[in-house]
């Protein structure tokens, strides 16, 4: 008796609807510069950068299990990178944004093997030390403007419409890009390696997964993403300053979004960003009370519902909007011993 | 009144059921042996009695009182002591400190560091050594001694001969004979059938979470035991 023929399937019909819906949403968002107000566009830039940041933080923390409290190092480097490449070297700011991400990667490259010697909570603080070092270096060098920072002149000099609309579209591109980046990463071999590492690092290593390299790639990708995000933020604000660019608040926002929305999924950070943004719009005038509230909510959810909002949805209704998982599908029904016959594409087993 | 009684106990590890409605009774002063192949549920049985595992259903009575609601760290004070699988002595503590900590939550009684070292003279020269530097046999003696320091009424021994050289196993069992002589109730889990049958008053064979055979060793033929062990 031969084994039944099967194939590995990724998506269902629902996923096709999600894809169509997604494209429509992005198209609508891309049309905003034509008819929306400037202040609204600038607010949306903040939304997009938070969304991208959450994806990058989640890539490191939710998928690779590396909780970083220091991604602000690369956000700040991206911001200063924009100034360096746009103002000092003189390239067009829109190009400089992506090169700034490259700058972040260059710094991340020697850092990674160093902090990978630490684990868990000590790794987290280690990333914080790195961020502090970068901040101190930048703040102490007169060439980068020291403590008072710099204006991003190359961006400020662009015609205002180009700048506003361009920044908006760039931010949208970065947000969508971050989602697609994580999505394709998870479908790749690296994604499989990450899941294995997250479940049981030792077992993954004995199965031949190069754990160090997998973590390194993820760390570098996250650094790149954060660098680009930092550059976009700098373009939006036109001013860079060590205290703000390297602020721990970036980590706080990202962590809050992922904790509420859900670790280890693409949908989670999207939902988390929406919720966080809504809270931001309504409560931000309260300053410290707002941050305090964020902290309390994060602690409560992390303790009581560690999988976040999306985790709850997954548990309850087993919904996955992004087809990153692999399912076993039988091509023809096995010789029936029981009267129940399965359809030609009945899913038999799910593996993520 | 029996020292220990299990009534229809079910134990799960997540979705996997390790024990299926297991019932048994251990009388005072008895040496009760549980044998069986790996995965039979024997270690789970001891861990559940010691409180490291909770039964999904059924009851465990110690001296006639149900113990289910007591966490593991309370059971030592009640008189139940477990020598866990793999010895698990405290590696950064010395031999003497390991014995001392055995008495931490235990009861008053005859067992002291001196009397334990009379039972296991091989420990005497090792008193100040760190437990991590001991050999397997020495660690096993230490683990048993540590459990005795709590002056238990019921001593649970989990696979004490595992990974030890035959010479060492012989010495451990000699000590066990002496233990039996003091009137301690012992529930011992073993894969090594030969040795344990020499000290046991009663034996139960476990197969895939159920008792497949039980009785006095003298009443059971070796064919019956082999059949029950392997489930043929």
């Amino acid at each position: 008796m031969s084994a039944p023929a099967f194939r590995i399937a990724r998506s269902t019909r629902m996923h096709r609807y999600v894809l169509i819906g997604g494209v429509l949403i992005v198209a609508v968002l891309a049309s905003f510069p034509l008819w929306a107000q400037v202040s609204f566009l600038r607010t949306m830039v903040t939304f997009f950068t938070l969304l991208a940041l959450a994806q990058m933080w989640n890539l490191l923390g939710g998928y690779a299990g590396l909780i970083s409290v220091g991604q602000q190092a690369y956000i700040g480097l991206g911001a200063y990178g924009l100034w360096l490449i746009g103002d000092v070297i003189g390239l067009h700011p829109f190009i400089a944004v992506f090169l700034a991400g490259g700058l972040a990667v260059l710094v991340a490259l020697p850092i990674a093997p160093l902090i990978f010697r630490l684990r868990g909570g000590y790794f987290a603080i280690g990333t914080w030390v790195v961020a502090e070092v970068v901040r101190l270096v930048v703040a102490n060098i007169q060439a980068t403007g020291g403590g008072s920072g710099k204006t991003v002149v190359s961006a400020a000099r662009l015609p205002i419409d180009t700048r506003i609309n361009g920044t908006y579209l760039l931010a949208l591109f970065v947000a969508v890009g971050s989602i697609l980046l994580v999505y394709f990463l998870l479908r790749s071999r690296l994604g499989l390696a990450l899941t294995a590492i997250r479940d049981n690092e030792l077992a993954a290593q004995s199965s031949g997964v190069n754990v160090f390299r997998a973590k390194l790639y993820v760390y570098l990708i996250s650094a790149f993403g954060c660098g680009v995000i930092g550059a976009v933020v700098a373009m939006n604000l036109l001013r860079i300053q060590p205290a703000a660019a390297f602020s721990i608040s970036w980590t706080a926002y990202a962590m809050f979004i992922v904790v509420i929305g859900g670790f280890g999924s693409i949908e989670g950070p999207i939902i988390g960003t929406v919720i966080y943004f809504a809270l931001l719009q309504t409560l931000s005038q309260y300053g410290t009370t707002y941050m305090l509230l964020l902290g309390v909510i994060a602690v409560v959810i992390a303790t009581k519902a560690p999988r976040g909002l999306w985790g709850f949805v997954v548990k309850r209704w087993d919904v996955h909007l992004f087809p990153v998982r692999r399912r076993l599908v039988l091509e023809e029904p096995p010789k029936p011993e029981s009267p129940a016959g399965a359809g030609a594409s009945a899913p038999v087993a799910e593996a993520s | 009144m029996s020292v220990l009684e299990l009534q229809e106990v079910d134990v799960f590890y997540g979705d996997f059921q390790a024990l299926f409605k297991v019932s048994l009774t251990v009388e005072e002063g008895q040496t009760f042996a549980c044998i069986g192949a790996n995965g039979g549920g024997k270690s789970t049985l001891l861990r559940t009695i010691a409180g490291l595992q909770r039964p999904a259903s059924g009851q465990i009575l110690f001296r006639g009182e149900p113990v289910d609601k007591y966490p593991a760290h309370d059971r030592v004070g009640m008189g139940i002591a477990l020598v866990p699988e793999g010895r698990r002595v405290f590696p950064s503590l010395t031999v003497f400190e390991n014995l001392q900590i055995g008495a931490y939550g235990g009861r008053k009684g005859d067992w002291t560091t001196d009397s334990v070292m009379e039972l296991f003279p091989l420990l005497k020269p090792l008193v100040k050594r760190q437990a991590s530097s001991l050999s397997g046999g020495e660690q096993q003696a230490l683990a048993i001694g540590r459990a005795l320091m709590s002056n238990p009424q019921l001593l649970l021994l989990d696979e004490v001969s595992l990974g030890l050289a035959p010479v060492v196993i012989k010495r451990i069992y000699e000590a066990m004979v002496h233990l039996v002589g003091t009137g301690t109730t012992i529930l011992v889990v073993e894969q090594d059938v030969q040795h344990v049958l020499t000290v046991a008053d009663y034996v139960a064979c476990f197969l895939e979470g159920r008792i497949s055979l039980e009785g006095k060793p003298s009443d059971l033929s070796s064919q019956a035991i082999t059949a029950a062990y392997f489930g043929v």
């Binding site: 299990g65 721990i248 309390v296 994060a298 992390a302 | 900590i101 235990g106």
Partner: protein, 290 residues
């Protein structure tokens, strides 16, 4: 000779850092947990002492002692009421929860006390120096802090090595489940470990408050310095933490002297990163993996 003075200052500064670091090392040793709010809890203690001093007009000493007692209780309740529930196979939860705690404490302090710098006035003791000779003098208070750190560490080490409860701590650290079998309730042990850690960091925070100014956001720095001291000193060794703290203090003061005051902290961080690169398990590691 200025360098010698600076070096002495660095060593004495290490004493303060060691006090911040000891609690962090203890908690990690007993329950493998890293408390990201550790520094903030020390600063919280400083504010509590300030409150007692300013509003209830207790003397500095009494404010300090009462604060330490309060933080001991807070530590026990915090561990048993919240942090014990975050422990488990998932490494990420304690990090997220303690980070959230850090945010809560910092913002709570800003709300209650404002973001301004504060100081705890202990009177003349802060400024007295001991003159050794014409060029050498040692601050009386920094010396006191350094000696205190040695005393505290010695007491803690004695507690761990010579007492029944200390043995229980070490057993729990070695093998939590086997310790349960000995009658040790690990929830209680964890609570006590956190209580002791917070009492020590409270002492550190109060001494800091007397020695210099402090504000609600200082906690992050204290955490980083404590962490660097622990890593450099080596996992599992409390005396090693003191050495790590001294190395850090020296790096900072010598760095300030050599390159200017803005660079002192940076030199400290760079020394830490170098040690991490060259000798990742620290100077006196007892356990090889973090």
């Amino acid at each position: 000779m200025d360098w010698v003075n600076v070096a002495i200052q660095g060593v004495l500064l290490g004493g303060l850092y060691a006090l911040f670091a000891t609690g962090l090392a203890l908690v990690f040793g007993v329950m493998r947990m890293v408390n990201l709010a550790h520094g903030d809890l020390g600063i919280l203690a400083a504010f509590v002492a300030l409150f007692l001093f300013q509003s209830l007009h207790l003397g500095v000493m009494w404010s300090g002692l009462v604060t330490i007692a309060i933080m001991f209780v807070v530590g026990y309740l915090l561990q048993r009421g919240l942090l014990n529930f975050t422990l488990g196979s998932d490494d990420t939860r304690p990090i997220v929860v303690t980070f959230g705690l850090s945010i809560i404490i910092q913002n709570g302090l800003i709300m209650w006390f404002s973001a301004d710098s504060q100081g705890l006035d202990a009177g003349r003791i802060e400024n007295i120096s001991i003159r050794i000779n014409d060029q050498l003098s040692i601050g009386w208070f920094p010396l006191l802090v350094f000696v205190t750190s040695i005393v505290v560490i010695a007491l803690l080490q004695t507690f761990l090595n010579r007492t029944k409860l200390g043995r229980a701590f070490r057993a729990t650290s070695d093998d939590r489940e086997a310790a349960e079998l000995m009658g040790i309730d690990n929830r209680h042990i964890y609570g006590l470990a956190m209580a002791i850690a917070l009492a020590i960091v409270a002492l550190a925070g109060i001494l800091l408050a007397v020695r210099t100014t402090f504000d609600p956001t200082q906690g992050s720095f204290r955490l980083i310095f404590a962490f660097e001291a622990v890593i450099m000193g080596g996992m599992g060794s409390i005396w090693g933490t003191l050495i790590g703290a001294i190395v850090l203090g020296l790096s900072q003061t010598l760095g300030s002297q050599a390159f200017g005051s803005g660079w002192g902290l940076l030199v400290g961080h760079l020394v830490f990163l170098t040690v991490l690169a060259v000798r990742p398990s620290g100077f006196f590691a007892k356990t090889v993996t973090a």
